[in-house]
């Protein structure tokens, strides 16, 4: 019986009650079996790790089986869970195939994630398993996003985020619970309190318990004996029912204990043997066997289940061993979704519109045409965004244009979860400078989850943000941080340079199957151009030649393009013909377009607003040095601000930020190099 059908039949039946009241005898038998499977799997995993057949980290949940099985008992396949580094139990309880899980731990092609993830990254969104996670607390923003998806779809879906007592100290916990509370999301934040965070005791991690915290967030709190599977399942039956009917989030704290070390190989110097011995008396399997005895079930039933599980585990390992290791030729698979785009068409020339209109109209188009698209961010709803970019959208698309608390981690991490749950979120980070507070969601989640799940997860999400130096916004509101993001494989980074580009590229970004960071320049929000046709699209990953020229190639992007074009016009008077290439997509970048232009002009200048050192310009210069070496007639020149924080004083900022005059000067000097 699949997990889903088990859940359905349980919801329908509600008869044949156990001693505790509402759980049927057959259900307790099945719960016992599922816990025994987790125990058997993990005991075998421990041995495989010791025998080096499992090459990477392994964290076991032996002793905690009842929380996983009880919490997932009433979930449907399409209900989402997020797990932790200690996630085998959750995955098995939610219905993942044991053989594939063994193969995954062994790093084999037949693994759940084709051997790309390992123990800490098992996931299968088709079963609602949005992933174990190697980053403590990172599952919580993701489950918040899954809860958002369920709420927008209105299909009664429920999301359960597992976390440990240690994760409570993470900022991600705070942002996620708070956002779920404010949005009344159908999320169960399920704490498996095993009283240890790595080697540290619970009391050294926080001064207030979860019950107190729940009050602080204004959400409900429930505690449960985490070693009694029936108690956990009964609690979840009530909670899941309430959440399906529209109730908001709840924090559950399950009291339990892990028997093994934090990781396999942990010498466990931080706790006494007596403590473990005491907890073993309350072994979830022993507790369940006692329940079965109370219900009059013969002890032979559990014993025969144990034997069957032993056999199943053995067979699963044998089968997993038969799976080959991934072919090194497939090394680059699953990093980006790669597909051919429809070629770009010349845009029609309509009435004049501004970049800010372009943003709003692109969002409107996609909201209208795709019910999975939603928009979220600080003040994007009722306030219509600080630049007025989303004005009117919240009224037009109720529930799909959402104001968030100031919680960038929950905003971006929530987008990751919503995307994995089938939506196309477009979230806003007000200033690019704020990427720092939510980098994990981009760097370790959005960028990697497709790869780590062997392509099982899709991450079609857009993070819109903006930047712009030159208006005394100071060091924390001026930065052009694209190099930081472009260095993360899996992310697509787009920086449009005018209203038409903004419209066509933003629409493509929303339609992209890959996670895209879309970076606007706020100094260009007022820039005008003829409005393109509404279905205008610009493919990602393709540069464009904005101005053809014979003598020198300038590669640039975003607002700096306008400075370069002005400089090109200026030096044209001296007979220097500049070819201007707008990169548009920063990563992955259009290497061929740059090389082709360089081949023609034999000289290269790169101009950007981000500080020079270790910037995107360096990557382009490296392309010229490696692959374009034979074409170069002169050294590559970079025009960019010097490496220092953006200064506030206009006098200093002007000296720091290169403009058209600096570009024109550099072009003239570059043309003097060598013979021509």
């Amino acid at each position: 019986m699949s997990v889903e059908s088990a859940a359905d039949s349980r919801e329908a039946e509600g008869s044949g009650s156990s001693a505790a009241g509402s759980v049927a005898v057959d259900d307790v038998v099945e719960m016992y079996r599922r816990m025994a499977r987790i125990r058997g799997f993990e005991q075998a995993a421990s041995k495989l790790y010791a025998d080096t057949e499992v090459p990477g980290f392994v964290h076991l949940s032996i002793g905690q089986e009842a929380t996983a099985v009880g919490a997932c008992w009433h979930l449907r396949d399409d209900d989402a869970i997020t797990s932790t580094h200690r996630g085998h139990g959750h995955c098995l309880a939610k219905g993942l195939d044991m053989t594939e899980m063994f193969a995954e731990l062994m790093g084999r092609e037949g693994g759940t994630c084709s051997g790309r993830g390992g123990s800490m990254h098992i996931a299968d969104p088709r079963l609602g398993i949005l992933g174990a996670n190697g980053i403590v607390g990172a599952g919580l923003p993701i489950i918040t996003g899954a809860g958002t998806a369920a709420q927008i779809r209105g299909d009664g879906g429920v999301a359960v985020g597992f976390f440990g007592d240690g994760a409570v100290a993470q900022g991600m916990f705070h942002e996620s619970v708070n956002l779920a509370a404010v949005w009344d999301l159908p999320v169960v934040f399920f704490c498996e309190n095993n009283h240890y965070s790595e080697f540290s005791r619970e009391e050294d991690q926080h001064r207030a318990g979860l019950a107190l915290r729940a009050v602080g967030y204004g959400v409900r709190y429930e505690s449960v004996d985490g070693n009694d599977v029936v108690a956990v399942a009964e609690l979840m039956q009530r909670l899941v029912g309430e959440l399906r009917a529209g109730a908001g989030p709840v924090i559950v704290e399950a009291d339990t204990y892990r028997w093994h070390g934090h990781y396999e190989g942990d010498p466990i110097r931080y706790r006494e043997a007596e403590e473990l011995a005491a907890w073993k008396l309350r072994d979830p399997l022993v507790v369940a066997r006692a329940r079965l005895a109370d219900l009059g079930v013969d002890a032979a039933v559990a014993m025969s289940i144990d034997r069957e599980v032993d056999e199943e585990v053995r067979a699963a390992i044998d089968e997993a061993r038969r799976s080959p290791f991934p072919d090194p030729a497939s090394l680059l698979d699953f990093v980006w979704v790669e597909e051919d785009d429809t070629p770009e068409r010349e845009p029609e020339q309509g009435e004049v519109f501004k970049t800010m209109d372009a943003v709003r109209e692109a969002l409107t188009f996609e909201l209208e045409h795709d019910p999975t698209v939603f928009v979220a961010g600080i003040d994007v709803g009722r306030g219509g965004n600080v630049f007025g970019l989303t004005r009117g959208l919240a009224e037009r698309f109720p529930g799909r244009v959402r104001d968030t608390p100031i919680s960038e981690t929950a905003i971006v991490g929530g987008a990751v979860g919503a995307a994995m749950a089938g939506m196309r979120p477009v979230v806003e980070v007000m200033y690019m400078d704020f990427i720092g507070v939510c980098l994990d969601a981009l760097m370790n989640q959005a960028a990697k989850l497709r790869f780590m799940t062997g392509g099982k997860a899709s991450l079609p999400l857009v993070v819109r943000t903006q930047f712009g130096a030159g208006r005394s916004s100071g060091s924390q509101h001026s930065q052009s941080l694209e190099a930081l993001l472009a260095h993360i494989p899996g992310l697509t980074v787009v920086m449009p340079s005018d209203p038409v580009e903004t419209y066509g590229l933003l629409r493509s970004a929303i339609r992209s199957p890959n996670p895209v960071v879309f970076v606007e320049n706020r100094l260009q929000y007022g820039m005008k151009a003829p409005r393109p046709n509404a279905d205008h699209l610009i493919p990602l990953g393709k540069a464009r030649i904005v101005r053809p020229g014979r003598d020198v190639t300038v590669v640039t992007w975003s607002r700096m393009l306008q400075e370069v074009l002005a400089a090109a016009t200026e030096v044209a008077a001296d007979g220097i013909e500049v070819e201007v290439v707008d990169l548009r997509t920063i990563a992955p970048f259009d290497r061929a377009a740059v090389l082709e232009s360089l081949q023609r002009t034999r000289r290269l200048l790169i101009a950007h607003e981000a500080v020079m050192d270790f910037g995107v310009g360096a990557e382009i210069a490296a392309l010229a040095a490696n692959e374009g070496f034979w074409h170069l007639d002169a050294p590559v020149v970079r025009v960019a601000p010097q490496a220092m924080p953006a200064p506030y004083s206009p006098a200093l900022e002007k000296a720091w930020l290169p403009d058209r005059a600096v570009v024109a000067d550099a072009l003239r000097r570059l043309m003097e190099v060598g013979t021509r």
Partner: protein
């Protein structure tokens, strides 16, 4: 979106593109004249050998197996046109080994495409396959520094061709746009036939192979 990736370490440094125009002032070095060099005069008796210096630059991106198959297919086509082989002729491709030669025999080779031939040659044998009167032998001597000449003692069939070591050299030549610097990939191709009366056909066939490799190759 298609991702364009930087070349791996194993693929660097890059080759100079063919036909690269540089405005250097270095003196022009004349390119060695191409064309088959008869190794023995054709008096109409005994065997005849000739060899030609092939410019393989256009095949620079191909794998060693594909490059070899491409040259052999061109040789077969040229030999067929000159009547040195016919449609039914067999091909024997052999490589010198410690103990002599080993290789494979391919029947109906004249009709094969380069990828098709490359696939067949992908599984080399461990012994010297037999040759009859209708067999052309090709010696793959790319692994050796010896010249691409002679019949290697394998005479008897239609003839013995040899593809020698593939090497690269930087060459320059003058073109209307200026001095052209380029990297040239070259190899010797020799052909020995038992009957010197067919010398002219051998020379023409080798010439045709060399010419077919000039310029872009599809």
């Amino acid at each position: 979106m298609r991702v364009q990736r930087a070349p791996r370490a194993a693929d660097q440094p890059q080759r100079a593109p063919e036909g690269l125009v540089r405005h250097d002032r270095a003196p022009a070095v004349p390119t060695p004249a191409a064309g088959p060099a008869p190794a023995r005069s054709a008096d109409g008796t005994g065997a005849f050998s000739a060899d030609v210096d092939l410019d393989l630059t256009a095949l620079a991106g191909r794998s060693p197996e594909d490059l070899f198959a491409e040259v052999v297919v061109r040789l077969l086509t040229a030999c067929h046109r000159e009547g040195l082989v016919d449609v039914g002729s067999a091909l024997r491709v052999v490589t010198p080994t410690d103990g002599g030669f080993a290789g494979v025999r391919v029947d109906g080779a004249v009709d094969r495409s380069a990828p098709g031939l490359s696939a067949v040659l992908g599984a080399p044998g461990t012994e010297l396959p037999p040759a009859d009167a209708g067999t052309l032998t090709v010696v793959d001597a790319r692994g050796s520094r010896t010249r691409a000449q002679g019949d290697w003692g394998l005479g008897g069939g239609l003839g013995v061709a040899t593809l020698g070591r593939v090497g690269s050299a930087v060459v320059s030549s003058r073109r209307p746009a200026g001095l052209v610097l380029g990297e040239r990939l070259g190899a010797g191709l020799g052909l020995t036939v038992p009957d010197a009366a067919r010398a002219a056909q051998v020379v023409r066939a080798l010439d045709a192979v060399a010419r077919s490799l000039e310029g872009p190759v599809g």
